[in-house]
Symmetry: C2
Subunit: 222 residues, 2 copies
DNA sequence: CCTACCGATCGGTAGG
DNA sequence: CCTACCGATCGGTAGG
């Protein structure tokens, strides 16, 4: 008994990683938890604002304990930036899909039809179900540090770049008057403001809003 | 000694007010300090947001110590409500003045001219120097409790009511198409959004913006 | 990803 | 309006 030594592990036994018990199984779990955090953060940031939302609130909403969000994000601000980046990526890819789908139907898409697709998709991104990410980006801009703003701004420029030739074409055909750059800013303003007053079930639908916007901003073709 | 009763105060001796040593002198001082707080709060709430601004920040900016704001306002939220109410009162009276001044010049003001005056004044209220109050109202709405929202909303309805007949007249003359109620919401959106991108010295002036908005939203009269 | 914890800050108050 | 203070909460971290 007394000379019974603990068994010596074979030299080639894989060393167990210490300190951070990472899963060897599918990484999906990790990604899912991060996504859960993003979704919870987006919803709470939108409802209460960034500063009024504690990382504990977010952790609880994602089914975690108070310290766990910092395993996935360096700090609270990085979580905000991630929400905005995620929002812009979704918006851009959704916008590209919408344009492609529309182009497949009618092969020759008029500038007016293009704008209709863009406006309709923008409203979907802004007001559709499960869309907290973009409103957070619109209304928590000042809570972001300068380097993070630049990162988000890059995606934002991509998103807006799609609108430029459409508005230019409308201007050339006399359907949109005035400076197209100011027109774009005012159009975005008119649409983004809907976040403040739109109520899903009530009165006007997103289709209604789309038609109203087109009717309001566009002139008859000459 | 045992029968010595505490002296009975004469019935007509003036009772000293205890607890709050209010000034007997001019009340101007009080009003000025309150205004200082409002101004400081408006600026900080706008720059950093309501939740990210401490009452200590505000006190310091107004030249007071940390506890003093609570002499003037019941709590932080009441201070926010006061900022918004002050903003709406100024906006409304400024709007009334602008309309009166315009009516004195040209005696018959066209609907288009009316809208020009309203838009120009709205931009001034929104983007002019010393105007932090209305932006705070626009972007801190969710930080307000329901009863306070109702109080602010009352003033807001008054302000917007002035626009209704003007937009209706434009619609009747064919210069504005579509539902006038949606048109009003989109117009406000287009203008309010300028808070996010307008830079005072740069490129376009408030006059430029006014003309751009009119050109964008209005059709030729039929 | 949890437990246990820290230092800092915050809104607000008593008493003068 | 100041002084001095309190209880609560918050972002974040060490160690596992």
């Amino acid at each position: 008994m007394s000379d019974a030594l603990p068994p010596i592990p074979p030299a080639d036994e894989p060393r167990r990683a210490r300190g951070r018990p990472r899963k060897t199984a599918d990484e999906r779990d990790d990604g899912n938890r991060r996504q859960d955090l993003l979704r919870a953060a987006a919803r709470l940031f939108r409802q209460q604002g960034f500063a009024a939302t504690s990382t504990r609130d977010i952790a609880t909403a994602a089914g975690m304990r108070s310290g766990s969000p910092f395993y996935h994000f360096e700090n609270k601000e990085a979580l905000l930036a991630a929400v905005m980046l995620e929002g812009m990526q979704r918006a851009s890819s959704q916008q590209a899909d919408a344009m492609q789908a529309a182009a497949r139907h009618g092969q020759a898409l008029s500038a007016r039809d293009c704008l209709r697709v863009l406006v309709r998709n923008h409203l979907e991104v802004l007001l559709g179900a499960e869309s907290d990410f973009i409103p957070v980006m619109l209304y928590e801009w000042r809570s972001l540090s300068e380097p993070q703003r630049q990162a988000v701004n890059e995606l934002r420029r991509e998103y807006e770049a799609v609108w430029v030739p459409v508005l230019q074409a409308l201007h050339d055909r006399g359907e949109l008057s005035g400076d197209t750059s100011l027109a774009r800013l005012m159009l975005f303003g008119a649409l983004n403001w809907a976040v403040q007053w739109f109520e899903p079930g009530r009165r006007s639908s997103l289709d209604d809003l789309t038609e109203a916007a087109l009717q309001l901003f566009l002139k008859e073709a000459v």
